[in-house]
């Protein structure tokens, strides 16, 4: 694959990752956030496929397919079922209003660039220049985790965090060994399923999935 095309593909997929994460912070609608998660999954799969084709590592192509099935199809489907079951389709009152959250996104992207300098310096190339985007995605996932009240939003933030770490993994080293990759994907899927069950239990116990209701345990 010619270098210029590889650079453009990398820029397109990582740009799409970051854009979808920004839109998730911006939008209040949970259904839109879940659809953006599917977009992220597609972008991540495209990223993996591009790296696989460029580095001539053909075992990355089934991994790309796995990522596509898992992150672009399965997880958004599970999350949308949670959304329908609990009736939570909007995040009305986040702890940080979208304007400040968007400013923080810009700050976090800068921070990611600063923090990723040692990674980029080790192995300069188009792929490692995109590593800050993965780190930024992970940091944005953290932001969503911390500033949302709805249980489903925390779930979405967790999946975004995982997407970011997966992006860093593929950009730095062409992924981790296949065994670890399979185990990690399975683990994340199971965690999402568990949180889904807990969310529906929360709906039954509290009548609502607002995490601010979970305040009984404290010192």
């Amino acid at each position: 694959m010619p270098e210029a095309l590889f650079s453009e593909l990398l820029a397109a997929t990582t740009g799409l990752l970051l854009l979808s994460a920004t839109l998730q912070v911006w939008r209040r609608s949970l259904t839109a956030s879940i659809r953006l998660l599917a977009v992220q999954g597609v972008a991540l799969a495209g990223l993996v496929a591009a790296i696989g084709l460029h580095d001539h590592e053909l075992e990355l192509l089934p991994v790309a397919l796995l990522v596509l099935v898992l992150k672009a199809a399965t997880m958004p489907w599970v999350l949308s079922r949670v959304s329908r079951a609990t009736g939570a389709t909007r995040e009305e009152t986040p702890r940080m209003n979208p304007t400040s959250a968007l400013m923080v996104v810009a700050l976090l992207t800068t921070l990611a660039y600063v923090v990723s300098q040692p990674v980029v310096a080790v192995n300069p190339g188009p792929a490692s220049r995109a590593v800050p985007i993965g780190v930024a995605l992970a940091l944005i996932g953290f932001l969503v985790l911390l500033t949302r009240r709805r249980a489903l939003s925390q779930l979405i933030g967790f999946v975004v965090l995982d997407n970011g770490i997966a992006a860093v993994a593929f950009l730095t080293a062409g992924g981790v060994p296949l065994v670890v990759e399979l185990g990690a994907s399975l683990d994340v899927l199971l965690i999402v399923l568990i949180l889904r069950v807990l969310t529906s239990r929360m709906q039954l116990a509290f009548g609502d999935t607002d995490l601010d209701d979970l305040t009984e345990l404290r010192d």
């Binding site: 990674v119 953290f142 770490i165 670890v180 345990l217």
Partner: protein
């Protein structure tokens, strides 16, 4: 000998599958204890195998048992036996057997063993994440709002922490690939034979330790611990405190060996010192205010993990051997304490410290083990924890960590005072009001034998360490403690 490895991994999974298939069968009650016994037997077997023949390797190098893994497998088995046996309620207790609960505990044990037996760091990570999955529903199994809150916090915080550890491992793998030797094998990394870019390796290892410290309950990532341990059923709390925290700490120890080999002792010493002192401070600050005795025990776990972190920060043969013995002693004692606390909760009906008093006078079957266990936990002689805590402090002093050990001593005293006060208010004193109702039959509460055994072993630990001396020396050598 490789068969022992496969047995210890496959058997719990088979038992879990069988328990799920027949959830109402009577034998599922005992399946957890049976599995724990098998793990203990495999652990002892592997210890002997490693003593005689060196590390046992299988699955193409992915699974490797050296002295440290074998020792910790034995510890895990022993603590699991204590917790599950102590938590056994016989048939006449009136509760139907719960196959799903047993299956989850067996899966939990399988994941713990996989984490201990893995040489590949990726598999270690997958196993530790697997423990979160296995225990998620166990923590919330009591039902109700508080249990749900505890389960949610546990899963979210645990997964986020472990995700950070994954990022660290990913960066580590990238560093090895940049150095031309892509590997996640602990053996290859701790040799010091691969030279990694120091900046990248530093970031990677720091992130990995931070992530595993979340699962180990070290401050500042400890906030899930008191909630999860106080809301889970008693045997589960015992297992988590005794086994899960220990295995997460084992992962930190493995990372520490790699870091010392590649980057020198500075990084890990600083991180573990900070985490250890902070954990002790958190425990000291909050233990006096506790109103719930299970939460009090959870904070005591945080304190002990902080102490372990300090010992690991010190390094050297004395401190590391003390750390390993402390893992055993703390595991046994904490598991017993949680089992007894569970029985107190079911008899007295309240988990508040203020609602429980004069246990020794009113309910000696509960009061005696409780008091004995607390004495062990407080680190009073003749129990082994006294000697291990002393060993950690002296070892730290010897390795130049004078003032941190001094601060640790002060904080330990504060925790001592808090625990002692709460224990005294719960156990000592006369029977003030009308005598309590007839004590529940022994058969309802469960046997005191496992508790007695666990405390006896802890008592003997300090003196009769001779059977363990060789094993401990080998394990410490694995950790690079001879340097």
């Amino acid at each position: 000998m490789a068969a022992l490895i496969w047995i210890s991994l496959a058997l719990p999974m088979l038992v879990a599958a069988a328990a799920l298939w027949r959830p109402r069968a009577e034998w599922t009650r005992y399946s957890q204890t049976g599995t724990a016994v098998i793990e203990l037997v495999c652990g002892v077997g592997l210890v002997l195998a490693v003593r005689s023949g060196g590390p046992v390797v299988t699955a193409g190098g992915l699974l490797r048992v050296d002295a440290l893994s074998a020792y910790l497998l034995t510890v895990v088995g022993a603590v699991a036996v204590t917790a599950t046996w102590g938590g056994l309620r016989p048939r006449s207790a009136g509760r139907p057997p719960n196959g799903r609960y047993s299956a989850l505990i067996c899966l939990f044990l399988a994941a713990m063993c996989l984490a201990l037996l893995a040489d590949n760091l990726g598999i270690l990570w997958v196993a530790i994440e697997g423990t979160t999955i296995a225990t998620a529903f166990l923590v919330g199994s009591r039902g109700g709002r508080r249990a749900l809150e505890a389960a949610w916090k546990y899963v979210v915080l645990g997964s986020v922490g472990v995700a950070i550890a994954f990022l660290g491992l990913v960066l580590l793998y990238a560093a090895t690939e940049a150095a031309g030797h892509p590997t996640l094998s602990w053996l290859a990394l701790s040799d010091g034979s691969i030279t990694l870019d120091p900046g990248l390796a530093r970031t990677a290892l720091a992130l990995a330790v931070l992530g595993f410290a979340t699962k180990a309950g070290l401050a500042p990532m400890h906030s899930w611990l008191p909630d999860a341990h106080s809301q889970a059923p008693a045997p589960v709390s015992g297992l988590m405190s005794g086994v899960l925290l220990s295995v997460a700490f084992y992962a930190i120890l493995r990372m520490r060996t790699i870091s010392d080999a590649l980057l020198g002792p500075g990084l890990m010493r600083g991180l573990l010192l900070a985490g250890g002192l902070l954990s002790l401070a958190v425990a000291a600050a909050l233990i006096l205010r506790q109103r719930d005795y299970k939460r009090m025990l959870a904070y005591s776990s945080i304190e002990h993990m902080g102490l372990l972190a300090l010992g690991a920060a010190a390094g050297g043969p004395l401190a590391l051997a003390a750390v390993l013995l402390h893992i055993l002693g703390h595991g046994l004692t904490k598991a017993s304490m949680f089992v007894v606390a569970g029985r107190v909760l079911s008899v007295e009906g309240s988990s508040k410290i203020a609602d429980v008093h004069s246990l020794l006078a009113r309910r000696p079957r509960l009061g005696v083990p409780f008091l004995a266990g607390m004495v062990a936990l407080l680190g009073l002689p003749p129990f082994g924890l006294f000697f291990t805590e002393l060993g950690i402090i002296v070892g730290g002093w010897q390795r130049g960590l004078g003032w941190p050990m001094g601060v640790a001593l002060v904080l330990l005293l504060v925790v001592f005072a808090g625990l002692a006060q709460h224990t005294a208010s719960m156990t000592l004193g006369e029977e003030l009001e009308a005598p309590a109702g007839p004590a529940p039959a022994k058969s309802v509460q469960g046997s005191n034998v496992p508790i007695a055994l666990a405390l006896a072993i802890t008592a003997v630990l300090g003196f009769a360490a001779w059977p363990l001396a060789h094993l401990l020396a080998d394990a410490v050598a694995v950790l690079g403690g001879a340097r």
